[in-house]
């Protein structure tokens, strides 16, 4: 068990290093020299000024040296300053985490709560009319991107019915009900695909589990179907679901960018987009590394959850 955690942590650190280096490389190697973002083209006639700025930002150092410096700062939580606003990238990120974080957590919780019963019903009645409806629905929902669902929700629930605001965000510290109002539609939009993915996972996993001998053996003991489903069958499937939720964080993170853009939410994704349009490479680099880090860390956590839930791994050291 100890060695399991150790290898996972080593792998986590290695992945983070490579991910950060690649991001750095990406941002610094691609066409469009950073200097263009720092000084308007017209002002670049002044060679002396350009040289001064280059030195100031360390643009003349070799790539590895710059990466080393940047990494050294990053480890201490300093991701540099935004070129546009001059504010620390890390504090901008910290300021926006609550929005994106809440959006993602609400989406995942809501999707799991909806998908588990759907998947269970569908697997339990495999091949039935109900199963066909649920599976078909999931296949369809899988094809509805967040921006289409979001636009539809805005049109119906905000514009026509007026139940929710179409855009904007109320921080939870300001008003809990206001916060709920603003998180509902974005979270629903993100949930459409998530629910579909989770339902399919739960269903296909459960269909296999329900064919296991231990399910038959539980039946032969005279236990009720519901009891068997939730106490015996769902446990192994919940492991698969956790993994998929972890792997799907990547998709979800992409989804938040779109949804935050559509609903004008002050989250990380929106900030990334703004930075992209402003060619604020420090910001882009910081947010990309941060997002990749979240993704890698979440998936390491998923491995640890396995450790807690699955006795076979826990004991097999």
């Amino acid at each position: 068990m100890g060695s399991f955690i150790a290898t996972r942590l080593v792998r986590l650190v290695a992945t983070l290093l490579v991910v950060s280096f690649l991001t750095f490389l990406l941002v610094n190697l691609l066409p469009g020299d950073a200097i263009n973002a720092l000084i308007p083209i017209e002002a670049q006639q002044d060679q002396e000024y350009v040289a001064q700025v280059r030195a100031e930002w360390g643009l003349d150092d070799p790539m590895l040296v710059r990466y080393g410096k940047w990494l050294g700062d990053a480890v201490r939580g300093d991701l540099g300053d935004s070129i546009v606003t001059s504010r620390a990238v890390s504090s901008e990120i910290a300021h926006r985490i609550p929005v994106t974080g809440e959006l993602m957590i609400v989406t995942v919780i809501f999707s799991v709560l909806l998908a588990v019963p759907l998947g269970v019903m569908s697997a339990y009645r495999e091949g039935s009319r109900l199963d066909q409806i649920i599976s078909g629905g999931a296949q369809f929902a899988l094809s509805v991107p967040g921006f289409v669902a979001g636009l539809l929700f805005i049109y119906v629930f905000a514009m026509k019915l007026g139940w929710f605001p179409a855009t904007g965000w109320t921080r939870i510290s300001n008003s809990i009900s206001g916060n709920l109002m603003t998180v509902t539609l974005p979270a629903l939009s993100l949930s459409v695909i998530e629910v579909a993915v989770y339902t399919r996972v739960v269903r296909s996993d459960l269909v296999t589990t329900l064919k296991e001998d231990y399910i038959l053996s539980a039946r032969s003991k005279g236990l009720k179907d519901g009891f068997i489903l939730f106490r015996h069958a769902l446990r192994p499937s919940s492991l698969t679901l956790i993994t998929v939720v972890g792997l799907n964080i990547g998709l979800l993170l992409g989804g938040t960018v779109v949804v935050e853009f559509l609903f004008a939410l002050p989250g990380l994704g929106k900030r990334l987009l703004d930075a992209i349009f402003q060619r604020d490479f420090m910001m882009v680099q910081g947010i990309t590394v941060f997002v990749a880090m979240v993704y890698v860390v979440v998936n390491t956590l998923v491995d640890f959850v396995y450790l807690v839930v699955d006795p076979r791994i826990r004991k097999a050291d």
């Binding site: 091949g127 329900l210 064919k211 296991e212 001998d213 231990y214 038959l216 053996s217 539980a218 039946r219 032969s220 003991k221 005279g222 236990l223 009720k224 009891f227 106490r231 015996h232 446990r235 192994p236 839930v309 699955d310 006795p311 076979r312 004991k315």
Partner: protein, 365 residues
């Protein structure tokens, strides 16, 4: 003990047929099986892989899953036909009246649930025990099936136990609510040879102590020898021979039973053999052959066998039922065998070779 209920058999199965509908056609896995089993008695069901033993046992217990199964006939258990019962009524029977021990203890216990809960969960449901009572019952049960240190074992997960231990746990699970009928479906096939004996003995002892009826399913004639009261030999979903175990071994009549017998290795007694010794393959259950199902593989085959299906009838001994036109040892069989051998029929030649090397005879032990 002379009242009505005690006289009538515990289980009486009549013309039971089970069919699975699959895209390729109807798999007729069980095709008209009849037998009866008295209280406290044991029945061995023997047949090679795919002969429908598991499907028969599961049909009687109504444990065949899926929407593509149809079962017809009757299976009267304690006076009522289980095939007509509702699922809720079946749940009342399962565990308390009929229980099953499965083939593979590696897969029949939930890997993510502790032994304690798996042993006690149905106790709690059927007998309304509270936690500590159930725990005590579980400890007693594990002790009864000879699991050392039951208190610690209860806290284990299945993967922490050896195969033999797991099968003991499965037996404890099956015995927990004191069923009157126990199906043991090849309970030792997945186990080491050394452990097989212990598990079989444990089952026999529990069966005797509890005066419980037991159906012991196996593909190995050696397992039922000396262990069951009656033995039923199954081939391709039908019963070909059914007799008290002692008289079956003394006077084996069906060529298939004889072939099974020949395939028991002499040296290590209960075995793993997949019966490769019988020439040919089992028949297609979607489209079974006409006449006797065994005729394509039978060394004593003659014209009548191919054309006419032999009925399962009593022989001169009324407890011995047989479905064969050319019973082993009969003059017709001898004539047919000579003829087939002369014609170079594969199965006849194979039998001839094996008998000249080691003559078929009784089982040692």
């Amino acid at each position: 003990m002379v009242d009505q209920a005690a006289n009538s058999p515990l289980l009486k199965v009549d013309d039971l047929r089970t069919t699975f509908t699959i895209p390729a056609g109807d798999v007729k896995a069980v095709r008209g099986v009849s037998f009866s089993l008295d209280r406290g008695k044991t029945l061995g069901i023997v047949g090679e892989s795919g002969s429908g033993k598991t499907v028969l046992a599961r049909s009687v217990m109504r444990l065949n899953l899926g929407t593509n199964v149809t079962t017809t006939g009757t299976a009267v258990f304690e006076g009522t036909d289980v095939l007509t019962r509702s699922p809720a009524e079946m749940r009342q029977l399962w565990g308390t009246e009929m229980a099953m021990v499965f083939q593979d203890p590696m897969t029949s216990l939930n890997p993510l649930v502790r032994v304690q809960r798996q042993v006690t969960e149905h106790l709690c449901r059927h007998l309304n025990l509270n936690r500590s009572e159930a725990r005590q019952a579980a400890v007693d049960l594990l002790r009864e099936v000879r699991i050392p240190d039951p208190e610690t074992r209860l806290r284990s997960f299945p993967h922490e136990l050896s195969g033999g231990m797991r099968q003991r746990v499965c037996i404890a699970v099956a015995l927990a609510c004191a069923p009157s009928l126990l199906f043991a479906d090849e309970p030792t096939t997945a186990l080491d040879v050394t452990v097989q004996h212990q598990i079989l003995n444990l089952l026999s002892r529990e069966q005797a102590d509890r005066e419980m009826a037991m159906v012991l399913v196996t593909h190995d004639l050696g397992v039922v020898a000396g262990r069951t009261d009656d033995t039923m030999v199954m081939y391709a979903g039908t019963v070909v021979e059914h007799a008290p175990t002692a008289s079956l071994f003394a006077d084996m009549r069906h060529p298939y039973s004889e072939a099974l017998m020949r395939s028991i290795p002499r040296t290590s007694f209960p075995s793993h053999t997949r019966l490769a010794a019988i020439t040919g393959r089992p028949p297609d259950l979607i489209d079974p052959p006409t006449g006797c199902d065994f005729s394509p593989r039978c060394p004593y085959v003659q014209d009548q066998c191919v054309n006419e299906e032999p009925p399962l009838v009593e022989t001169d001994d009324p407890t011995h039922r047989l479905a064969c036109w050319t019973p082993v040892g009969s003059p017709e069989a001898r004539v047919a065998f000579e003829k087939n051998l002369a014609a170079g029929l594969r199965q006849a030649v194979a039998v001839d070779l094996s008998t000249t090397r080691s003559p078929a005879g009784g089982v040692d032990g």
